[in-house]
Symmetry: C2
Subunit: 333 residues, 2 copies
């Protein structure tokens, strides 16, 4: 099979030919049509991830057709169009993943390949309203956004939701979910083009977070925000605490801008704010996400499709944060 | 009436004789037996509070006997032993106080006096198991601790609770509540004497937060903490994020040590933590607190009783954080 392998930290991925791994007990092999990139893949190439084991095939997101079943798995799976839940061994506690939790693509070989072999319990039918490229764009970012907005953020139609860093995969799904439930959504970005695209998707307005007073503008022009979905942290975090309505929820699923430099705890307690951390999603989050996406016919925004051989260019595009939506690899190209 | 008046910021309170204010429509006058100090009183003397209007009689906590009723208030109140809910105009939203919220003792004249006149809806019967000095020690810290631990922190018997800065009024009530429900309670303090007193009250163990590795000790010796009640913030906040169990709640009701210098957002989202701000309490929190205190026969810890004339010495004791429990002023002394 064709596969994109990370041999060494901070080295380009290498396209190599490997044996298709045989499915073991309870496993299936999927002939992949597409994979999608996540920031995690980039962090791993930079050595910024705990427990890195090399060489590895990166990639947490994939969709394709079941081509082989292992012992104990029904033949009915053969030929079915499927996608993979990349979060494994979550454990029994819906509130947090277990210490055994792992994500497909490290240490288990991932989806930047023409085939992948995974436990059948991680395999789900492809939503019928999506093609295989769109389905590959959904799992990791889609479930992360679902847990952040619904399970942790308790999003409802009454909310005024602020989603920071629109264009990122999770942020874009969060916007689509917020619009789907009828909430009023606002976004931030340094790119007028991305703000325009967010508005086209249903956002009420967008703000350039580089403007010193963007949060004052938002407060002046609209009702205060009751829910904030943030993946950045960093210096901008203080603005989120400012812009949050009393009793608001701020959910963080990432810290691409590093730790917040200034958390004004006085405002946190006087405004009775709720700051929640969220990462990935439980199996229940994943199935709820699939149900929600089907019910609202949500189609993942695919930024660009690269052939598998161009995986390094795809990673570079994600590193520069130029994308709007998910970057997909056509693994059968 | 005797009253302790703040005339100027950063000046000592002055004992002056004033007319007892007549109760207006819906008000009662209480002949006070005792008042209690809160950190808020000290902040106001330092000018560190929004909207300060001078001169003012400080004091949010008081208990005594109703001596006069205004128009529209039943005579049945006369002679009853009562205490005051110092949080006024909370509003209709249980999740957060309204912009009209105010606390007795600024701008409305407070309890550092022989009499106080307040709306009858803020007046509650003294819990029968408490004397008037103990009852005066309860309201502000008692309701703040109740909201932080129960309404916001969802304390239950299964919790391992860490309470920082034991000895402070809110922290001490939080400890008493945690012990009352059967939770395992841990405390921090820089004082071995305070830790010993906390253990005598039912805490499992205490740690000196000045030790670089106190949080490692706690983790090594006990199960990880599922709930943290903190009024300090500051540099020590990072340790709280470290010591918190996965999915733990950290409730902040104050920031006496200033804003946190380092909030490792990565740990917040990877551990799926819940950081909640909490201040004061709603009317429902107050009545629930009174019910809980009566049910569990909780007796507020009175650190020291000063005569009203020694109010400045009492404020100084609070400033130095030497106290364990509440500092009370005998307003009838």
């Amino acid at each position: 099979m064709k596969s994109l392998v990370l041999d060494r930290i901070k080295s380009p991925l290498v396209l190599v030919d490997r044996e298709v791994p045989e499915p073991d007990n309870g496993e299936v092999t999927i002939s992949l049509s597409a994979a999608a990139l996540n920031r995690r893949d980039f962090w791993i190439t930079q050595g910024m991830y705990p427990g890195i084991r090399l060489p590895v095939i990166l990639g947490s997101d994939g969709a394709g057709i079941v081509s082989q079943v292992g012992p104990g798995v029904s033949d009915d799976w053969l030929g079915r169009e499927v996608m993979i839940n990349p979060g494994w061994h979550w454990g029994d506690d819906p509130s947090v993943q277990s210490p055994q939790f792992q994500i497909l693509g490290m240490p288990h070989d991932g989806t930047f390949a023409s085939h992948v072999t995974v436990p059948v319990e991680s395999v789900h039918a492809k939503p019928s309203h999506l093609d295989l490229h769109q389905a590959a764009a959904l799992p990791l970012a889609g479930v992360t956004a679902y847990r952040a907005t619904f399970t942790r953020g308790h999003l409802s139609a009454d909310d005024h939701v602020l989603i920071t860093g629109i264009g990122g995969g999770v942020a874009t799904f969060a916007l689509q979910y917020a619009v789907a439930v009828g909430a009023s959504a606002f976004v931030t970005s340094s790119s007028p083009e991305k703000i325009a695209r967010a508005i086209a998707l249903g956002a009420v307005a967008g703000y350039d977070y580089r403007a010193e007073d963007w949060h004052q503008q938002l407060k002046a022009e609209h009702e205060p925000v009751s829910l904030i979905i943030d993946g950045a942290g960093g210096d901008g975090y203080a603005r989120l605490i400012d812009v949050a309505a009393p009793a608001a929820r701020i959910v963080n699923y990432g810290a691409t801008a590093g730790p917040p430099s200034n958390v004004e705890l006085f405002k946190v307690f006087w405004k009775q704010l709720n700051l929640a951390g969220s990462t990935m999603g439980s199996p229940a989050d994943f199935t709820s996400m699939l149900k929600f996406v089907a019910q609202h016919q949500i189609v993942p925004i695919v930024d660009h499709v690269h052939p598998l051989a161009d995986g390094n260019a795809a990673l570079q595009r994600m590193r520069s944060s130029d994308q709007f939506g998910k970057i997909v690899l056509a693994t059968d190209a």
